[in-house]
Every structure is written in C-alpha cells, then in structure tokens.
C-alpha cells in the first residue's frame, strides 16, 4: 500500500471573493501534493483555531498550478466551520489532509462534457484544464442566477467550449446545465458534480444514451480516508446486490452505472 501524505500546514497566499458568496483561496502546497493530485480529488481542511470543530471540512480541488505549488479552492461558507475557513487572513496557515479520494479518469475519451451545478462547478475547472490536454472538453455550468456564476474567465480559458445556464434565465441558457447541451453532439464521456437532482438527471441521460459517465458525490464526512464508514452512498454491484461505499475513499467519483442516487 502506498504511503499517504501526512497532514500538513498550508500557507494562504491569497483570498478573494468569487460569485455567489463563495471565496477563492490560493494555498501553497508541497511537491508531493501536486504529484498525487488529480481532478475530482479533494482536501480535508481543519477549521483554523477552532478545536471545538472536531471534523475536517472536505473541499474539492478547484485548480492546481504545480509549477508554482499553488492549490486553488472555491469554498462556499455554509456553516460556522466553512465561514471560519473563508475568513482566514492571507499569510495564515491551515492544516490540510490530502489530496484524498479517487478523481475523474479520462480513459482515452476524446470528447467530454464537464457538467457542474452551483458549488459543484468548482472541481470542473481543474478537470477542464487537465483533460483539455488530450480531449475536447465542453463545460456546462448551471447556477441559480447570474450573481452565482464564478470563475467564468478561467473556464473560458481552460475548456474547449463553455456553456452557462441559469435557473432564472438571467444569464446564458434558461434552464439546467444538462438541458443546455441538448443541441450538442454526444461525447465519449460525461463527468458531473453538483446537487443530487442534477446528478440524477445526468445519470439517467447517460445510462439512457449508453455513455460513459462519472459522478462526483457529496456526503456528510468523518475521517476522509476510509476508516470511519460514515460518508456512505449506495452502490449496485453487477449481480444487483446493494452495498454502501465510502464517498471519501471509494469515491468521491463513482461510475454512474454503479451508484444509486
């Protein structure tokens, strides 16, 4: 079994607001982190200076610039823990575990749809940048409204094509991120991250069209490295037997044909 990178302290180099109340945090990470990191993986952050918050907060990797040892995270302040993470001062340090989990795999696909919903769009940036090296990636990102859109320019730069959708029609396609792609030719692979109803729609679409599809899931998480068995999701084996898999260690990316949403 390979050795895991022990928890380490990462310096916050910059922090700025993104759309929708999210914050972009740029952190300095070691070479080993960059070498192990893949799109779809996540980091597990200790809430700074708050020992009463026992559990770490899982945040997907939004982007990575290995040549500068730079990790970019998009964090949505939801509870007190993520609020404290978002209010960190530049120059401060945060204890981090990762990169954790299994990421997306291209498996030789030449055309990819990268579908992201809300905060779930964040890991799609890293996927677009990496997978665009050998595939044509169409990013389709869905948001509630115009103000929630983030990192549009970065997506423009990293994806072959960018489609924006909003639920209220205030920007881009009026509707969801999957419907926004209805006139596009079908890809070799779909990858998706976002709210469960969106993932369900993507799963149904992909299975109906016999397309390879990988979904990134979210669940309330404990350790983050597979020991505590709390971040479960239902999976179906080939013989139709149901199991609980660990989102942290068996996922967070699952084959759409195996996971029960």
């Amino acid at each position: 079994m390979s050795n895991a990178l022990p928890p380490f302290s990462a310096k916050l180099l910059s922090s700025r607001p993104l759309g929708g109340g999210m914050r972009e945090l740029c952190l300095e990470v070691p070479d080993e982190f960059c070498r192990a990191s893949r799109p779809g993986m996540f980091v597990h952050l200790k809430v700074p200076d708050a020992p009463q918050h026992l559990l770490r907060r899982p945040i997907s990797i939004m982007d990575l610039e290995p040549e500068d040892n730079l990790l970019v995270l998009g964090v949505q302040p939801k509870g007190e823990g993520t609020r404290l993470i978002c209010s960190m001062q530049e120059g401060g340090c945060i204890e981090m575990l990762g990169p954790l989990g299994n990421g997306f795999s291209l498996n030789g696909a030449k055309t990819v749809w990268a579908i992201g919903g809300g905060v779930g769009a964040a890991p799609m940036l890293y996927a677009c940048r990496e997978f665009s090296k050998s595939a044509r990636v169409t990013a389709s990102l869905g948001f509630r409204t115009r103000d929630m859109i983030f990192s549009e320019r970065d997506f423009h730069e990293s994806a072959f094509r960018l489609v924006i959708a909003t639920d209220d029609g205030t920007a881009g396609f009026h509707g969801n991120a999957l419907a926004a792609l209805s006139s596009h030719p079908l890809p070799d692979l779909i990858i998706a991250c976002g709210p469960t109803p969106m993932l369900k729609a993507v799963q149904e679409f992909a299975l109906g069209h016999n397309l390879h599809c990988q979904l990134s899931l979210e669940q309330r998480m404990g350790c983050g490295y597979g020991a505590c068995l709390t971040c479960s999701c239902r999976t179906m084996s080939r013989d139709g037997e149901e199991h609980y898999a660990r989102v942290c260690a068996d996922g967070p990316v699952f084959d759409a044909g195996k996971v029960v949403l």
Partner: protein, 302 residues
C-alpha cells in the same frame, strides 16, 4: 522509560489503543504509520453475518463532539478471520476483536469462532446504541450484561473485555455485572445516545434519528464513570471518551484505567494515536515518571 502495561494477562507495548469503529481494521492508518507501534488495535465491531449498516447521513458534528450512527457496517466474522486478521497479525498488531451480537447465542458463536485465532483479546460490545434488539438497547440492564459475559466466557479461552454503555442508571452496577459474569476486564464508555435536528428541513440530521455522541464533549462524564467503575470492580478497566491528548490519557490512567482507547481523535487526525502516545511519553518524562504503571489508579482524593 517503561510504557508497557499488562492488560488481562496480555502485555501491551503501551496503553494506547485505537477504539473500535474509528480505526476500521487498521489498513487506512497503516498508510500513515506503523500500526505495530500501538498498544493494541480494537477492530471495527464484528457480527456473525455481514451488515450493511444504516443509510446516510451517518455523522454530524456537535459542539466539541461527534454524533454517529454507522449501524455496525462490517464484513462479518468469517471475512474478518480470513481477510482482515491475517493482515493485522502480519503488521505486528496486538488485536482486540470487538464483537456484537443480537442474542446470547450470537455472542457465544462469535467467541467460539474467534477462540482458535490469533486475536489477543475479545471486546464484547453489549452497548452499541445504533442497533436495536426488541426496541431497547441490548446491554442496558445488569442482568443481560452478566448473561452475555457468562455466555462469552464459556465459549472462549481468550481474555474477555466487556464494553459498557454509559446509557445506564448506575455504571457501577453494569461494571459489577460484567465482573460477576466472568469478564477479565471492562472497557468504557461507549457513546452517549444523542440527537441533532436540521432546522431548515425540520428533520433529524442522522437518518437513524438518534446517534452516539463522542469526543471531548463527553470526556468529563467518561472520566467520572471510569473512576467509579474502577472503584467498583477488581478487574482491569480500559478507559475511553474524548481522549485527544497525552494528558487526557494520563488523566484516565490516574482515574484507575490500565489502558485507554482513542476514538473520535482518529477522525480528526490520522496521526492522533501516535501523537497521543508521544505526548504521554513526554508527560511522563516531564514529571519524573519512569514507569507508566505508576499512573494507573494514582489519583489522590483528599
């Protein structure tokens, strides 16, 4: 410095043991450190047959605590013996097999199945708050605890620890019942039954509705119960409940515990047990303690 302790006739390198349910079968932690450095490893709770566990959500954070309801997801005793135990032994771990049954027969069956294996001790969970037998927690009354201890005692030559629930009227009665039933030692506390509500959805946060509370939030209760239990019985006590540092561990030893288990801390930090071991060693050396056994039961009550 001497860190080794003798627990029910088993020599442990040191008194630090990861608690059942927070350490899997050790594989995930072996990617972070050599698990043979630990005093012993208490395995994930094992049942006669594989168990799927509860639906998610299974965990939530509470102030200085964690509420969980995993529901004993495990591969069953046969898979444990065939796949997990040989690996643990190969790593050089001293193995405490934690077992859970739904009836006296199941407890006896588990003890028998493990009797001829290389486990060092058996830890009998009479108190998992997240599965129910006949609508009530199985091990909440002294008579049942005594009967389970007896059934297991008769089925194995291995030393038997009975793991007690704090969700009882009088912890000393539960401790005495385990001793009377023939337990070689007791371990406590399992989690305190608790609950959390999502105010947005007006639903319980955990799918199981209730869950087990652990972490520093329960530590003073755990310490008090370990102290009282150690006073009430003459068999060794293994203490646990929110131990996050070496000094926390030292407090449980002073209260009368022969060894301690570290649970929730493993979920915050994969290195927790090793850090706590090093901190305990540091505490001893700073305080002129040459043998960790000096701490056990060393509490002074004026």
């Amino acid at each position: 410095m001497k860190l080794s302790v003798n627990l029910c006739g088993v020599e442990l390198k040191n008194p630090i043991i990861p608690a059942s349910g927070t350490f899997g079968f050790g594989r995930e932690f072996s990617r972070y450190y050599d698990i043979s450095r630990l005093g012993a490893v208490a395995t994930k709770g094992i049942t006669p047959l594989p168990r799927l566990g509860n639906p998610p959500a299974r965990i939530t954070e509470t102030p200085s605590g964690i509420l969980n309801a995993v529901g004993l997801q495990n591969p069953g005793v046969d898979a444990f013996i065939e796949e997990e135990l040989p690996w643990l032994i190969q790593q050089g771990a001293t193995v405490i097999a934690n077992v859970s049954g739904n009836s006296m027969d199941e407890y006896a069956e588990l003890a028998e199945a493990l009797d001829s294996t290389d486990i060092a001790l058996l830890e009998v969970n009479v108190s998992c708050p997240n599965i129910h037998a006949g609508g009530c927690v199985f091990g909440s009354d002294p008579e049942t605890i005594r009967d389970v201890a007896k059934a297991v005692r008769a089925a194995t030559r291995k030393p038997v620890l009975v793991k007690l629930s704090p969700n009882v009227a009088d912890i000393t009665e539960a401790a005495k019942a385990a001793e009377e039933g023939g337990a070689d030692g007791i371990s406590l506390i399992n989690t305190l039954t608790g609950m959390a509500i999502d105010l947005k959805t007006r639903r319980p946060v955990l799918a199981n509705v209730t869950g087990g509370l652990s972490g520093p939030a329960v530590r003073p209760v755990a310490l008090r119960m370990c102290y009282q239990a150690a006073q009430a019985v003459s068999i060794p006590v293994v203490g646990m409940g929110g131990i996050m540092t070496g000094e926390d561990a030292a407090a449980f030893l002073l209260a009368g515990c022969t060894a301690v288990q570290v649970g929730t801390a493993n979920l915050s930090d994969p290195m927790a047990c090793i850090r706590i071991l090093e901190e305990l060693e540091h505490y001893c050396s700073q305080n002129g303690i040459a043998d960790v056994n000096e701490l056990i039961g060393g509490l002074i009550v004026e």
